[in-house]
Symmetry: C2
């Protein structure tokens, strides 16, 4: 069973958990969603996590971000048992990824990007990859995946961020450009090498008076102008998002299978 934990009624969190529940059901993975009121004390959440950690029917635990401000993500992610941490956010799983130790869990979004590259027949070894954004959820683990000594990695990776000088020139040199910087349409056509593979992980809501809600979602890549230059490019939405969910399901099946082997 995959257990989702949601704190409060953040609309994006509701949508994300809803999509994950739906996919789990489609695949025949049992799931359960625990909703805590926004004001719940951290200690209550941690207590519940510990009880799920020791519950033999729970194979995977996912605490949906963002969390309310009075709750420390660091402490929450550390409390989920590493072997049930299907999000791959526990320091032990992050460390295993960095070390090239395959016994951990890889965070779902960068794992999804990696799978997408592989399934699209991209030859990763020897490429120059540029990752935009050094977040713990995408940028850093994405870098860790691509730089490994492995037949589907072996890329030379540069991680760029808000303090990078001449970020355009880094982008222009990239064979694989992965944008997870959280700036709407940051990557312009002039920043992309012709034929490059461009992966857009960004999800940004921008005002749009012509839209029904008064706003719309855009990625970190100016899709319309980059598409003609890029060799391959992911749409957004509909590109990386579904892969994230697929990898969550893979991690859950893997967690259950490891638990079954050990019992």
């Amino acid at each position: 069973m995959l257990v989702f934990i949601r704190m409060g009624e953040d609309p994006a969190s509701r949508v994300y958990v809803g999509m994950k529940e739906k996919t789990a059901a489609q695949l025949g993975i049992e799931s359960q969603t625990i909703v805590f009121p926004e004001a719940t004390a951290e200690s209550v959440l941690l207590e519940r996590l510990r009880s799920l950690n020791s519950d033999s029917q729970t194979h995977g635990i996912l605490v949906q971000a963002p969390l309310p401000k009075h709750i420390s993500e660091t402490i929450v992610y550390r409390t989920v048992a590493p072997q049930k941490d299907v999000d791959g956010f526990h320091p032990e799983n992050v460390g295993k990824l960095m070390l090239g130790d395959l016994s951990g869990f890889v965070p779902c979004t960068p794992a999804g990007v990696h799978e997408l590259l592989r399934r699209s027949g991209i030859e990763i070894p020897g490429t120059r990859a540029v990752v935009l954004g050094r977040g713990n959820i995408v940028g850093k683990p994405m870098t860790a995946i691509l730089l490994q000594k492995a037949p589907d990695a072996n890329s030379t990776v540069t991680l760029c961020h808000s303090r990078t000088l001449n970020i355009e020139s880094h982008c222009q040199a990239a064979d694989i450009l992965i944008a997870a910087i959280g700036v709407p349409e940051f990557v312009k056509a002039s920043m992309v090498k012709p034929g490059a593979v461009v992966i857009d992980v960004g999800v940004n809501r921008i005002p749009d008076p012509t839209a029904k809600k008064g706003s719309r979602l855009v990625g970190d890549v100016a899709f319309d102008e980059v598409q003609p230059i890029a060799g391959k490019i992911t749409p957004n939405p509909g590109g990386v998002g579904p892969m994230t969910i697929a990898m969550l399901m893979r991690n859950t099946v893997e967690a259950a299978s490891r638990m079954a082997q050990q019992s």
Copy 2:
């Protein structure tokens, strides 16, 4: 107390542990060295590690590499309790470093390089750093340190390795060039940007008929030709090595202090 574990009589291991013991003694840190015969079973070593993990007088544990071939470094480093892992090799500590969580331990050699950069007044933010070599002991954690969002980091880092194409051009763009690739005198003058900071982490033994032993130690940097071009450069030996030992001592004091606070 800092406990060293040595397996067999590898001459380099003897020398390394000897230097660490000596520094500990000079600083007034109690240490103990446990020597296992080369043929000792892995289970015996792991059993001993577990007993040290639960010993309240042991604050730090260091298992000196290289280990005999029948022993898995992965399993050994996972078995040392993270809070006594003064080498910073446990996946949990590696993960904390990657996440920017300061409650772990940072591997000694990259921590020493970082301290050396700071104490030498190098302004790291905004620089372009190139790390040569993706080993778990130096290259990967060095990358993780320099890319963090922190006033003494914020560098844009590229990690190069054996599968990197045009490695020279990466090196030529580096403001800070850190060589940990294990190839004698790999970095030549033509690969260094004038004024760059060059850190040589390599330790390579090469044949030398004129030397007493028939061999001598050289770094990963061709020091004589690179020195006139580099803005700052570390000698080798005598550059990074002593910093590694200093950081080990710092980690040990930190481990003891954290244990004292918790008891």
